[in-house]
Symmetry: C2
Subunit: 156 residues, 2 copies
Amino acid sequence: MTKSADTKVKDRDDGLDMGPLPNLMGYLTRRAQMAIFEDFHARFADEDIRPAQYSVLKLIALNPGARQTEVSAALGIQRSNFGPMFDALEQRGLVERRPLEADRRSLALYLTASGEAAMVRLDALVEAHEAKFVKRIGLQGKVTLQTLLFLLTSGE
Amino acid sequence: MTKSADTKVKDRDDGLDMGPLPNLMGYLTRRAQMAIFEDFHARFADEDIRPAQYSVLKLIALNPGARQTEVSAALGIQRSNFGPMFDALEQRGLVERRPLEADRRSLALYLTASGEAAMVRLDALVEAHEAKFVKRIGLQGKVTLQTLLFLLTSGE
DNA sequence: TATTGTTATACTCTATAACTATA
DNA sequence: TATAGTTATAGAGTATAACAATA
């Protein structure tokens, strides 16, 4: 209520008072995800592959012949957004679509030979990427984190 | 090498084989963050406030008079993107800029009376939002998660 | 010279609706 | 009628560079 209270607008020694913000799980996961993706982007710059692209390639590698709707749904990507994203990978010769005889509406997805070769390199990059963060929290920490994040995601 | 191996393109009982994807920390944090933000968006739809906007409002509430560069840097937002974002909040009468006499390049940020009133409602929404996820992993789980995510973020 | 804030721009990601061809 | 994939579009989020005013 005093004039001096108006003057002392902020306690600012080194930085700002973040209050409870750094304890909010949404804030925490967002910042952690950004830190992890930043490392990913740096490592995959030469290969010009982004996280979502890697997840698509990996899913097709594990499930050759899967249809677009299956892959996009499994990754939480809209069907309408999956098409153009896949086009980019296809134009680079990493993947291909093949008509499905059983259902002529559908297209089955496959890695090309070039895509298979790329996966060997990409998997190695992912392994190094992953190891960097495991080093920070330990193997037990990673297991705990997996459990907690899974529980967070899969709720009511 | 056989024709039958070509036929059995994929083991697909219910869904796709995700392989090690769900164990990658980047994938896990991304999916968790999306689940948390989805709940946030639903709760804050009526107030028309997004996570980044809440963090800006909260930071100004805790640090009245803070300058734009300070707030944007603390939240990891580019200076050039902070301006238009703040404009939207200002046009809604929640915040305001005031010239700094000490440095006429800078603008000090404040909540308006309307903004202060809004924060009471928003903080209540955040509390309920947070409680939903604490319920899934327990209070100890939240503390552990905070520790792990902080360690992940603050590395070399 | 360096910094604060602004403007312009561009690229990615995400979300929705409408369309086609098949089923 | 419903589904697979496409197209168009729009809104966020993010990133960089250049600029004017001020330090």
